[in-house]
């Protein structure tokens, strides 16, 4: 059976956009099920400089002060292998990587 590829829109915070040298949101091809892990895998494959900056390199656990939002929901503590809403998979809604409101 052919594996489908979705084009997911991802919004990155300023510091990660600068490192990746992109403006605005990025469009990432995600093969198969659209999950948080699949999106972040695609993000790091496309922009290797971002490896380890949203999640731990060894454990893949989310960095404590990074949050993941989509469709008005905070998905930060959800199962990274759970399917994301159809609107994210179709590109109707972006997947957002957000730096927590903290610090000075």
């Amino acid at each position: 059976m052919a594996v489908t590829t979705s084009t997911v829109r991802v919004v990155l915070p300023l510091h990660l956009r600068r490192l990746a040298e992109v403006d605005g949101e990025v469009a990432l091809p995600v093969e198969g099920h659209v999950t948080q892990r699949a999106i972040l895998d695609a993000l790091e494959a496309t922009y290797p400089v971002l490896a380890g900056l949203t999640r731990d390199r060894a454990t893949a656990r989310r960095r404590p002060l990074v949050r993941f939002f989509a469709c008005g929901e905070d998905l930060s503590n959800e199962d990274p292998d759970a399917l994301l809403p159809e609107a994210v998979a179709t590109g109707a809604e972006p997947y957002m990587v957000v730096g927590s409101m903290a610090g000075g």
Partner: protein, 371 residues
């Protein structure tokens, strides 16, 4: 020599300050990497255009930046500092065991012979080496695997390997200092390490003269006399004349022997600079007077250098990596403060000027003397 280039790491970015040999007029560029904490920026002595920077963030973690054109442009290189062997535990603040966790790179020390080789001292305390210009990093596991490591406990800023010195006369000899474990020396290019803390006395630990556990803030040596080391400890200014095997106190007449940075004059191996801080409870200069103290006798006898420095209402701190000397004649000395000032002296410390003010809190200051 054509001039100097000062590399400044701050709480909110990096800055590069350049001047000609007179060191009176300065050009300031930056912030580079705005918004990121820049723990350390240091250039290669082999290729001054090669500069490494440790860019870190509580949000996004660690990035190493590299410039190949003297700080004009930068590119991120490798930021993977995965410990090479299973991590054990060190002591946490409450005395309980805590597993090693990489947090950030505190200090980058380029090789004395190869611009592509650089050492990194990290928190939680360990040392890494890159031999490909910072693209990939390998841990020198002998430090973290030292048999005393389970006894190491973090200082207030974390369990950081913050100082790295390569002995120019003895290839393969490396010193590191860890807060709060102490000084360690390797004589086999980082493979194995020995504590070098004999003579240190620290009242803040249960056994004052323990083999490890001392909060060493900074060590320095002069290349022409590498067996002699100077140390600013949490309290006490110390000196060793046998490569760190034995230390004796040389605090002498300092108004306070607490402080962070220490450095040695470029051309006078017995001339040493420190910046006294009131105490570990009051991280600001005694009496609100910012004074660099100079000893021309290798310690014990100190004189204040105050001309051009604020002598009232000054309550900044100077971090451990935030003072350095250039190789010009007369020797230049530079330091940065938590208040965002970079002060410089182009006459061996006799007089000072604020090169720039109102930067973010300064974490590190290094200088390159340009050919």
């Amino acid at each position: 020599m054509s001039g100097v280039r000062i590399l400044v790491g701050t709480r909110k970015g990096a800055f590069v300050l350049t001047s000609d040999g007179a060191r009176k007029d300065w050009r300031v560029s930056g912030p580079h990497f705005p918004g990121w904490e820049i723990y350390h920026v240091k250039g290669s002595s082999v290729d001054p255009n090669r500069i490494y920077a440790s860019q870190t963030s509580g949000w996004f973690g660690q990035v190493i930046q590299r410039s190949d054109d003297g700080g004009e442009t930068w590119a991120p290189v490798g930021g993977d500092f995965s410990y090479a062997s299973p991590t054990g535990d060190h002591l946490w603040y409450d005395g309980t065991p805590k597993p090693w966790v990489f947090t950030r790179v505190w200090h980058l020390e380029p090789s004395l012979t190869d611009p592509d080789t650089v050492l990194a001292g990290v928190e939680d305390a360990a040392m890494f080496r890159s031999t490909d210009g910072g693209n990939t990093w390998s841990e020198l596991t002998g430090l973290r695997d030292h048999h005393t490591a389970p006894q190491w406990a973090p200082g207030a800023g974390g369990l950081g390997a913050h100082t790295i010195i390569q002995d120019p006369a003895n290839p393969g000899r490396i010193y590191t200092a860890i807060s709060a474990a102490g000084v360690f020396r390797s004589d086999d290019d980082g493979t194995s390490w020995r504590p070098m803390n004999q003579g240190l006395v620290s009242e803040g630990i249960p056994e004052a003269d323990a083999e490890v556990g001392h909060c060493v803030h900074r060590i320095a040596l002069h290349p022409s006399r590498p067996e002699t080391l100077f140390m600013q400890k949490h309290w006490d200014v110390m000196r060793s004349d046998d490569g760190g095997q034995n230390w004796r106190e040389v605090s002498g007449n300092l108004p306070s022997d607490f402080g962070f940075p220490i450095d040695v004059h470029a051309h006078e191996p017995d001339t040493v600079f420190v910046i006294p801080i009131t105490s570990d409870s009051e991280h600001f200069p005694p009496e609100g007077k910012l004074r660099v103290y100079r000893s021309r006798s290798g310690g014990d006898e100190w004189e204040p250098m105050t001309k051009g420095l604020p002598q009232e209402n000054c309550y900044v701190n100077i971090f451990r990596d935030a003072m350095c000397v250039d190789q010009m004649d007369p020797c230049g000395i530079y330091f940065g403060t938590t208040g965002g000032q970079i002060y410089g002296s182009n006459d061996g410390g006799e007089s000072w000027n604020a090169i720039v003010q109102n930067l973010p809190s300064v974490y590190s200051v290094e200088v390159q003397t340009l050919p």
